[in-house]
């Protein structure tokens, strides 16, 4: 990857952040932290790896659908104007992913189910002879507390679903606080490896590192997980120190400041 590519992807990540701020701002609160932590993961995936015509995309935690929506226009999956309807009554762009959510193959609000769905899609690709198709699944670290994730991990490894790639947003955030204060998940990479997966542990805000990991994950014949170490406040310095990463309050003055910061960086 060239320096220009890296710069382009970093800008794409900030575009995702800016759109997410604008989507949350009218409501005064929302799942902004998820977009801030996963912006580089989505930007890198969409820029250099995910082909919507060939691959499948699963956003397991429906709360992350904001990031998929914000990233979708560049991939030709959603008109940018539609983002303005996010979270309003009767919008197809509900704040937590539903069956009507555009721009993804599968999402849902009851956490821990997406990886099973992704395994099902990968199995379908195999049974239907789509050997070049890959299935990307965005999964959150909090979801690893759900047993079903590990059922799916066992199934995928046993059945050698090598086309399955997880992007794990390890932002150490869940409703009750830092994930690490609720449940010890570490060592995350070793857990996946012991389940038969290839695991790549990277800085989730470093697009070059994510890109390299996704390339290696694709080449590996095992199912693979790219663990992105991230923060729910990354890329937005105006957020107060104690902001709740799961559900960020964004009153109008803060939203204005956030838009100003991101617009300045993108100028």
């Amino acid at each position: 990857m060239t320096a220009v590519d890296a710069l382009t992807m970093a800008r794409y990540a900030d575009v995702i952040r800016l759109r997410a701020v604008r989507m949350v701002a009218p409501h005064g609160f929302g799942y902004l932290g998820q977009a801030l932590s996963s912006a580089e993961l989505f930007a890198t995936l969409y820029s250099r790896h995910y082909d919507p015509g060939r691959d499948s995309l699963v956003v397991s935690p429906g709360h992350y659908i904001i990031a998929a929506f914000a990233a979708a226009p560049e991939a030709g999956l959603l008109d940018e104007e539609a983002l303005a309807t996010y979270g309003f009554d009767d919008s197809a762009l509900e704040a937590i992913g539903t069956e009507r959510s555009p721009a993804v193959d599968l999402t849902g609000g009851s956490l821990g189910m997406g990886l099973s769905g992704a395994a099902g899609l990968a199995l379908a690709d195999r049974l239907q002879g789509r050997s070049d198709a890959r299935v990307f699944a965005v999964v959150s670290d909090g979801e690893l507390e759900e047993g079903q994730v590990w059922e799916a991990a066992l199934f995928a490894a046993h059945n050698r679903l090598g086309s399955l790639i997880v992007l794990l947003d390890a932002n150490d955030s869940q409703v009750d606080g830092p994930v690490s204060s609720i449940t010890t998940l570490e060592p995350i990479a070793a857990k996946w490896e012991s389940f038969g997966w290839a695991a790549f542990d990277v800085d989730g805000h470093d697009t070059a590192a994510i890109d390299e990991a996704l390339t290696a994950a694709t080449a590996d014949t095992r199912p693979a997980v790219v663990i992105g170490r991230t923060s729910t406040k990354h890329g937005l310095s105006v957020l107060p120190e104690g902001a709740d990463g799961h559900f960020i309050k964004l009153p109008a003055p803060l939203a204005e400041a956030a838009i100003k910061e991101l617009e300045a960086r993108l100028a």
Partner: protein, 328 residues
């Protein structure tokens, strides 16, 4: 309709599924570590390329089945009814029912037919599945109907919960029996009483009607293989001219066939006394044999007869069911 005692056959479902899958290449067969027990060892042997071991991981299996259905497959998921509905309820709702996907969840060993104790008794599966939007709920315990029903069940556009008896399956209906997914069927016409039954309780309902007939009580028997959507019109028509109604289900009386019939009767303002035969809000212990539990928890043919006798305020002792029929 054949006469009692009914002949029985082994594994009619397993054979019927293989036959259907030969014609329908989109059918997949998934198992939750209960392959022989759910009659699909034949499928595994004959169509291994469409057979998937989910292992003891029902949540994952159900969510995967939903994803496979999104890609055009028709997944039939097999385990015991209790494991098919309790543990993966959230997965059934979110991965299958809400997206309205054609996943067939096949749960064996209904109600107290299990020798495995309360952990293995699906006594609330119908109630759970009835409450889920988009779900069709079918309860079958006759070999002819299982074979006749499978192609229609495969054609339902949304999800289906199919509840099946395990092991020896009675043959109640003739080969030319026509199965309907939309009609409850009055098998015996009667004027005093209507017995409305599903699944394993159908043969008991027929026996009870025979016993009552010999004692001068004219009982109709209505078979309700599809509990949801309920054919309320046929039910209302069957209960409108009689003096008493009994529902019979191998399930809790809460949320299953009895509840569905009660709801239909209440909404149609049919003021006929109703009794529900089934598990009376209890778990069933002491289960070395199914017949013991059917007696202990008052799910037997004699219980239907006794209930009818009391409900119709007949004088004297209720007639006794012949010993050969009393067990079931």
């Amino acid at each position: 309709m054949l006469k009692q005692p009914y002949p029985t056959v082994m594994k009619p479902y397993g054979r019927a599924l293989v036959d259907l899958a030969r014609k329908r290449p989109e059918i997949l067969c998934l198992t939750g570590d209960l392959t022989r027990q759910t009659e699909i060892d034949l499928f595994q042997e004959q169509i291994p390329e469409r057979f998937v071991h989910g292992g003891m991981a029902e949540a994952n299996m159900i969510s995967m089945a939903g994803a496979l259905a999104r890609r055009g497959f028709l997944p039939f998921v097999h385990t015991f009814g209790v494991f098919a509905t309790r543990r993966p309820l959230d997965q059934i709702i979110n991965s299958v029912a809400y997206p309205n996907l054609p996943v067939r969840i096949v749960g064996f060993m209904p109600g107290v037919s299990s020798p495995g104790g309360p952990s293995h008794q699906a006594i609330d599966d119908v109630a759970l599945m009835r409450a889920v939007p988009n779900m069709t709920v079918v309860d079958l315990a006759d070999a002819t109907q299982i074979r006749a029903a499978l192609p229609s069940i495969a054609d339902i556009p949304g999800p289906v919960y199919l509840r099946l008896k395990r092991g020896e399956i009675p043959v109640i209906f003739d080969d030319d029996h026509e199965f309907s997914l939309t009609k409850a069927e009055t098998l015996i016409e009667g004027t005093d009483l209507a017995v409305i039954a599903s699944g394993m309780m159908l043969s008991s309902a027929i026996s009870a009607a025979d016993t009552l007939a010999a004692a001068g009580v004219s009982a109709s028997v209505v078979n309700v293989p599809v509990i949801k959507p309920l054919d309320a019109d046929s039910i209302i028509s069957a209960v409108s001219g009689v003096s008493a109604v009994i529902t019979a289900e191998n399930h809790s009386v809460i949320g299953g066939l009895g509840s569905a019939v009660a709801e239909a009767m209440a909404e149609a303002a049919v003021a006929v006394p109703l009794r529900r035969i089934g598990l009376r809000d209890t778990f069933a212990e002491g289960s070395r044999t199914a017949s013991h539990l059917f007696r202990k928890y008052r799910l037997g043919t004699q219980d239907i007869v006794d209930t009818a006798w009391e409900l119709l305020r007949r004088e004297g002792q209720p007639p006794q069911v012949q010993a050969a029929e009393a067990a079931g």
